[in-house]
């Protein structure tokens, strides 16, 4: 073999020498001469040409020249023949003869440093399982080597691939069944199977990768060319969301590309697969960065295509074929590696068949891109071209684009916000104005105050509290139960109040009557016994805070009330004040009235109306004290059933209550302004005298208004006045009573 080689080489070397045989090397450009001889040759030719022109007839030289040319052609043919022979020497030497095969085998086994490395790896990994395991393993590997090397040139690569797969399965069976591997645990067996694959494939890599019997190399070049032509395709074209500006994303993309390029640098199929997996994982990370959600195949495949386009890995097709052929099927069909590899196959297939449609653009646009009419610039592109400044430029451009988009968004947002604010403002003002229109309350209370003042001036003198007179001869007067009825009659005349006022009047009047009665009670108590009086006072004291609270409640509600109503409220306050004064005063007489009032239906407090509540509060504390008092002074049946007959005190009170209620209603019918102030006075008055009709009506009004007009401090004064005045009236009434009697 070696011997045959030598002569061919020698011939070739000789062939390279100058045709003149001067010993120097020739050159094809100089038509096989050395430089010196070529110059001579050219000179000769030039002379010959001139001589030809000069002497056309000198034909004897031409045959010589043709002879020379012929000789030259022969030489070239010979050279080609040698060269033809020459290349097969390197490629196919082993296929021809057995000696060559053995030599190759020998070469693989020993001269290949990788094999030594693998053997060493085996020993470190599986050496512990014993010498016989190692021997069997190597035996299997060697048998594969020999078989494949025999078949490689005789069979198509697909058959070889099947053969290899068969060997994998055989070895797998052997691992599980052969007694040699008994001791090896199952996990390690799987690892050994993988290592077997690696061992075999690395050993046969030079033979099996891109074998000469296939056109893999052409396909590699074709796909490489295709990808180069498609270099203008951007992530946007593919519809995947890879942001170009993020540093992190960029790094990950470059990592992915590097991993993809790494496929060509490793030899075992499983290692190539691992590269693919690493690449795809980086892509997954990129996508997760960009979209924030777990990545589905819908997003992954376009991204992988993009990476393949940008990476343009060397010998892509060869690598893919190599892996599909010689990777253990079980790994390729399933598992992460298989999945990603399948995706890579899909990506390559997509790139091969890429059309304008698949990039969702028009045919013209696609053609324009393909022919270079349009040349887009992207950050990836420039980065891969390794022009740093251009890369930065592109990055800044896209950054600026992003920024301008964001500014637009912000401006839009501010506009919207402004609009919203205005809208909100309008809404609020509208609402407020509507509310104001609905309830223009604030102005009215002021008016009422002014009105009251006006009334005050007229009615100051009128308030009718009559208490002092009653003191003088309580029993006698009260004995006449009918007087009350008379008083009741009085009220209808007096009252011309509004319907609205009715309820409050009703409530107020009982309150006033209560007060009056209380006063009476106190007075009577005072008359009857000092002890009782003292107890009453004690009982009353707690009332004070209650009254105050009721006043407060009035104030609150007064806002909603009409002028007159508010006037009533203030009157009620005034009345309370009066009560206190009455209590303090040691007037007796009316004690018997209280129980009846207590029982009478009219007294049931109106929980809703502030006045009613106030009345209750005022009364309730008093009642317990009064109730015990009654039996002492008056008999129980009298108080309850027939006050008129048994006890004078009861009757008038009871009647007065009833009358009051009736009166109140009538009052409301009458003048609107009058009723509120009237109640207290009338009630008090009614209780005591028949005659009081006209008198009470007048004083009631006056008393109320006076109280309203005055400030609190002043209000006290009119109250006192009332107290003072009332006695006078009472006296008058009494006088009248007396007269009647």
């Amino acid at each position: 073999m070696y011997a045959t080689k030598q002569p061919t080489l020698r011939i070739k070397q000789a062939d390279l020498k100058c045709k003149n045989g001067c010993g120097f090397f020739g050159n094809a450009e100089w038509e096989g001469y050395c430089s010196k001889c070529y110059r001579d040759y050219m000179q000769k030719q030039r002379e010959r040409n001139t001589s030809q022109e000069k002497a056309e007839h000198s034909k004897a030289r031409i045959p010589g020249f043709s002879k020379f040319e012929e000789k030259k052609r022969q030489q070239i043919d010979k050279k080609n023949k040698y060269l033809k022979n020459f290349t097969p020497v390197f490629r196919k030497s082993s296929s021809a003869k057995d000696s060559g095969k053995s030599e190759r085998h020998h070469e693989l086994r020993h001269s290949n440093p990788e094999m030594e490395k693998l053997t060493a790896e085996y020993i470190t990994k599986y050496g512990v399982w014993g010498e016989h395991v190692r021997k069997d393993f190597l035996k299997c590997v060697n048998s594969v080597y020999t078989k494949i090397l025999i078949d490689i040139d005789n069979k198509p690569i697909e058959d070889i691939a099947e053969l290899i797969q068969k060997y994998y399965n055989m070895f797998s069976d052997r691992l599980n069944r052969n007694s040699v591997y008994e001791e090896v645990i199952s996990d390690v067996r799987d690892q050994m199977l993988d290592f077997f694959e690696k061992f075999v494939m690395i050993g046969l890599y030079s033979v099996l990768f891109c074998p000469h019997t296939t056109n893999d190399e052409e396909k590699d070049l074709a796909i490489q060319d295709r990808i180069r032509k498609l270099s203008w395709v951007t992530a946007h074209h593919l519809g995947c969301c890879i942001s170009e500006t993020s540093m992190e994303v960029r790094d990950l993309v470059y990592t992915a590309i590097t991993d993809l390029l790494g496929i060509d640098s490793v030899k075992a199929p499983q290692e190539k697969l691992a590269c693919v997996v690493r690449c795809c994982r980086s892509i997954m990370e990129v996508l997760q960065h960009c979209q924030g959600a777990p990545v589905s195949a819908d997003e992954f495949l376009p991204a992988l295509i993009f990476i393949v386009l940008k990476g343009n890995p060397a010998r892509l097709k060869s690598n893919i074929h190599y892996v599909t052929r010689f990777c253990n099927d079980s790994r390729l069909m399933q598992g992460e590696g298989g999945y990603y590899f399948t995706n890579l196959c899909c990506a390559v297939s997509f790139i091969e068949n890429l059309t304008a449609e698949s990039l969702s653009m028009t045919e013209e646009e696609f053609k324009a891109y393909m022919t270079g009419v349009i040349t887009p610039v992207s950050a990836w592109e420039s980065a891969l071209v390794a022009c740093e400044s251009m890369h930065q430029l592109c990055e800044h451009l896209s950054l600026l684009k992003n920024l301008s988009e964001r500014t637009d968004a912000v401006q839009k947002g501010t506009g919207e916000l402004k609009e919203n604010i205005n809208k909100f403002k309008n809404e609020i003002t509208k609402k407020v104005s509507s509310v104001l229109a609905k309830t223009p309350l604030i102005i009215k209370p002021r008016k009422t105050l002014i009105d009251f003042d006006l009334h005050e001036s007229t009615n100051d003198n009128l308030p009718p509290p009559i208490i002092p007179i009653i003191k003088a001869r309580p029993l006698e007067e009260i004995e006449d139960g009918n007087h009350n009825l008379a008083t009741t009659n009085l009220f209808p005349f007096e009252n011309t109040g509004n319907a609205d006022l009715q309820s409050q009047n009703e409530q107020q009047q009982p309150a006033f009557t209560n007060f009056y009665e209380q006063n009476l009670q106190l007075q009577s108590i005072g008359l009857t016994s000092d002890k009782q009086k003292s107890t009453l006072q004690l009982n009353i004291t707690p009332c004070v805070p209650d009254l105050q609270t009721t006043e407060l409640s009035f104030d609150n509600q007064s806002l909603n009330l009409d002028e007159q109503q508010s006037g009533f409220l203030e009157l009620s306050n005034v009345n309370y004040d009066i009560d206190f004064s009455d209590l303090s005063a040691d007037n007796s007489v009316a004690e018997e009235l209280t129980p009846e009032k207590h029982k009478s239906p009219s007294f049931t407090p109106d929980p809703f109306s502030p006045i009613g509540s106030s009345c209750n509060i005022a009364q309730t504390p008093l009642l317990p004290s009064s109730a015990p008092l009654l039996p002492t002074t008056n008999t129980a049946p009298e108080s309850t059933s027939n006050p008129n007959q048994t006890n004078d005190f009861f009757l008038p009170a009871a009647e007065a209550d009833r009358v009051e209620t009736i009166l109140d209603q009538t009052e409301e019918m009458c003048t609107a302004n009058l009723p509120t102030p009237l109640k207290p006075t009338t009630s008090q008055y009614s209780g005591f005298s028949k005659q009081g009709w006209q008198i009470p009506s007048i004083p009631c009004n006056t008393g109320d208004y006076s109280s309203l007009n005055m400030s609190q401090s002043q209000a006290w004064v009119p109250n006192s006045n009332v107290n003072v005045t009332n006695p006078n009236k009472n006296n008058q009434n009494n006088d009248e009573f007396e007269k009647q009697e």
């Binding site: 198509p156 690569i157 697909e158 691939a161 099947e162 797969q165 068969k166 399965n169 691992l175 599980n176 199952s186 067996r189 799987d190 296939t214 056109n215 396909k219 519809g239 994982r281 997954m284 990370e285 997760q288 924030g292 959600a293 777990p294 990545v295 589905s296 195949a297 819908d298 992954f300 495949l301 376009p302 097709k317 893919i320 074929h321 599909t324 052929r325 099927d329 079980s330 069909m333 399933q334 598992g335 992460e336 298989g338 999945y339 990603y340 399948t342 196959c345 899909c346 390559v348 297939s349 997509f350 091969e352 068949n353 449609e357 698949s358 969702s360």
Partner: protein, 217 residues
């Protein structure tokens, strides 16, 4: 067909998810494997390739679920995906008639390429949007029975019917494997089967990319 019982006695199945984009393939498989719906709360980086280990009647089964890109432009890549898969889950959106038509084309293709080796399940997803239904249940079920496929209705959002669907599919695949084992005891080498598949491919379908081991040259 590609199930290789390794030293452990686990049955490996490859299941491809097919269906148009946005029909909820990913949600479906995520719900099944992770039992989560809202994609914001899922820890997994990727939802395209997921493994699910099952134990059915004492048999250990490992389902490798392959998600596929649903975009129309990747339709031609289907054969690469479903090559040598044991089962296919064809998902359509009950509110989208087109997605159901797409299923029909997949079924035709799959039957051509893989014959009856593959177990088909047609899944109507998004039953929570019942009010917007555009594909009637009867239509889908009659079609499924016509092509020898199972039909299920699921809701990835409400987690309805998903577990059941995968379980039934797995059982059917196990049955199919048992059948095959009895049928062709002679053909133990899966590679010969693989070749058969490719022969079918050559006959009937636009050739899938030449990188198939037996397809080229």
């Amino acid at each position: 067909m590609a199930n290789i019982s390794t030293s452990t006695n686990t049955q490996n199945f490859k299941v491809v998810l097919l269906g148009e984009g946005c029909v909820g393939k990913t949600s479906l498989v995520l719900r099944y494997v992770e039992d989560k719906f809202n994609s914001n709360h899922i820890s997994t980086v990727q939802a395209s390739f997921l493994n699910k280990k099952l134990n059915i009647e004492g048999k250990r089964v490992n389902l490798a679920i392959w998600d596929t890109a649903g975009q129309e432009k990747f339709h031609a890549l289907g054969p690469i995906y479903y090559r040598s898969s044991n089962g296919a889950v064809l998902v359509y959106d009950i509110t989208d008639e087109d997605s159901f038509q797409r299923i029909k084309s997949w079924v035709k293709e799959l039957r051509k390429m893989l014959g009856t080796d593959i177990c088909l399940v047609i899944v109507g997803n998004k039953t929570d949007l019942e009010k917007d239904r555009h594909v009637s249940l009867e239509e889908a079920e009659t079609y499924a029975s016509k092509v020898g496929a199972l039909h299920f209705q699921t809701s990835a959002k409400l987690n309805q019917g998903i577990e059941e669907m995968f379980l039934t599919l797995t059982q059917k695949m196990l049955e199919r494997v048992a059948e095959q084992e009895t049928q062709n005891n002679t053909l133990t080498r899966q590679n010969s089967q693989r070749r058969n598949v490719l022969v079918v491919e050559d006959d009937q379908v636009p050739p899938p990319p030449s990188k198939h081991c037996c397809g080229s040259s």
